[in-house]
């Protein structure tokens, strides 16, 4: 088994405009997807990142606020998973509901 990291990117404001019904549906989709991964022992751990943050640059150690990519592509969190190979990890990520609202999942192998 190899370790992979899923990096979730999406527009963080997307939940704000949802009705309770849509929220419920979205939550269910996520939980179904997670459950599938969990059942087969893929999930190691996951962490959600807050929107706030600092970026430190260069020798001058200049500090700026916030994530430095475009907001709509900002990293929302990561999930550490185990899979046989990158193909399986990719296949599993295709079920992620984030894709339904134009988010992305970046699949990266953890160096062994």
């Amino acid at each position: 088994m190899t370790k992979f990291v899923y990096l979730f990117r999406s527009d963080p404001s997307v939940f704000r405009s949802m009705s309770p019904e849509q929220m419920q549906q979205t939550m269910k989709k996520w939980m179904d997807w997670r459950e599938g991964l969990e059942k087969n022992g893929h999930i190691q751990q996951g962490q959600r990142l807050d929107g706030s943050g600092k970026v430190i640059r260069g020798n001058a150690k200049a500090v700026t606020d916030g994530p430095y990519v475009e907001v709509k592509d900002s990293i929302q969190g990561f999930l550490l998973v185990e899979a046989n190979d990158i193909d399986e990890a990719t296949e599993l990520a295709k079920g992620c509901p984030i894709l339904e609202r134009e988010g992305t999942v970046e699949v990266r192998a953890v160096a062994s």
Partner: protein, 409 residues
């Protein structure tokens, strides 16, 4: 998972500031998918909502008018609880939620609001209903729902305060609206008129939960509360037989062994407790009608004469077109289809039933019984068109087939 979520979304009560709830749910939606469900999701939501509310009050002077409620919410029992053992903490937490919920129910029934508006507001904030679901449940347009909510929010902005559960007289006058909201919450679940179209039993049991909440509080456990509870239990008992894989099953074909004997006996128990007062309310009558259906071993054994008698009383007490429709159906069981059709035609305020699929379906049923399948088919076609979900549609389509007539398309 589903019942879980509806319990969570029932947490809408936390807010007069709807934003807090919205934020909290957003937060859950952001965190849970990635970090997994917390051990105690409702406690998690409560904590996040609390913190968020404190933040909002601190940051925004305009929100200070919420402060009295929030302070009360936020400080309730926290001090001594921090040291309490976990089980005690859990019990206190649950009691606190119950009291908050009850307080919220009564607070939403503000005297400056019409009963309809109160009902709408309770469904929105406590039941977590969407605007379209409320529109279906109340047989009004979505615009009308929005208008009611807007008006209600305005009133709360000026004079919104938490209703304490200590003043018996104030609570008494507000009980009526609370009953109606619970009743509607139940029927929304029972008829499953939302888009997803399943019988949403969770909503029914949420309504029963709220009614139980009333019955557990000395200030709200009136005979009428028990009558409502009895009614809900009798209806809920029949949920198991109401649908099969192909959709809704009509009463005469339901497998009565699937009805829940436990809920039925609870129903009878509550009905007994409801008979202590002087008042004979519409809920007493409806509960008695439901009890008669439940106690009939077979459809043929149903005591229609007694049921019609009760409907005669009910229609006087609650002269709505839907009650009149049900009465006409009961009347038809005794006096035959032609009489029933006459009664259906005589329903006052029938235009209100324009969107109600069971209205044309009742016409269809009695035309069919009267041996006019072609006529009946026309009405069932209309019912299919008005059906609010797949369950209802396939139910009417089955009836349409039973007419054995090839209609048009």
């Amino acid at each position: 998972m589903v019942s879980y979520l509806s319990r969570i979304f029932g947490l809408g009560r936390l807010d007069l500031a709807e934003d807090v709830v919205q934020d909290t749910l957003c937060r859950a939606l952001e965190v849970w998918p990635i970090q997994g469900l917390p051990d105690n999701p409702s406690a998690w939501l409560m904590r996040v909502a609390r913190n968020r509310a404190i933040d909002m009050v601190r940051r925004d002077a305009h929100l200070r008018y919420f402060a009295p409620e929030l302070v009360q919410l936020l400080t309730a029992g926290e001090g001594e609880l921090a040291q309490a053992p976990p089980l005690q903490k859990q019990i206190a937490f649950e009691r606190e939620i119950k009291d908050d919920e009850l307080r919220m129910v009564f607070s939403l029934c503000h005297s400056e609001l019409s009963t309809e508006a109160q009902v709408t507001l309770i469904l929105k904030t406590l039941g977590g209903f969407s605007v379209s679901e409320i529109a279906h449940a109340l047989l009004i347009s979505e615009d009308a729902v929005e208008k009611r909510l807007g008006r209600a929010r305005k009133i709360f902005r000026h004079s919104g305060g938490f209703e304490e559960l200590t003043d018996a007289s104030a609570i008494g006058t507000r009980l009526e609206a609370v009953y109606q909201a619970i009743y509607l919450l139940f029927s929304e679940g029972y008829h499953g008129s939302g888009r997803e179209g399943t019988l949403r039993e969770d909503l029914c049991f949420e309504a029963i939960r709220l009614a139980l909440l009333l019955s557990e509080h000395p200030i709200a456990n009136t005979p009428k509360t028990y009558a409502l509870l009895a009614l809900l239990c009798f209806h809920a008992a029949r949920l198991g037989g109401r649908a099969d894989d192909d959709g809704l099953v009509q009463l005469e074909l339901q497998d009565r062994s699937k009805w829940d004997p436990d809920l039925m006996s609870r129903g009878f128990c509550f009905l007994e407790r409801s008979s202590s007062g002087e008042e004979l309310s519409d809920y007493h009558l409806e509960a008695a009608i439901a009890a008669l259906h439940c106690s009939a071993a077979t459809y043929e054994n149903t005591d229609w004469a007694k049921i019609l008698e009760l409907y005669d009383l009910l229609v006087r007490l609650k002269p709505t077109p839907i009650v009149a429709l049900n009465r006409a159906v009961a009347l038809g069981k005794i006096m035959g289809p032609e009489k029933a059709l006459t009664e259906l035609g005589a329903i006052p305020d029938a235009p209100k039933l324009k969107q109600y699929p069971f209205y044309p379906a009742a016409y269809g049923e009695f035309h069919l019984l009267a041996g006019r399948p072609a006529e009946a088919a026309k009405y069932f076609e209309e019912a299919v068109k008005l059906a609010r979900n797949g369950h209802e549609a396939s139910f009417f389509e089955r009836k349409l087939k039973a007419c054995g007539i090839d209609v048009g398309s």
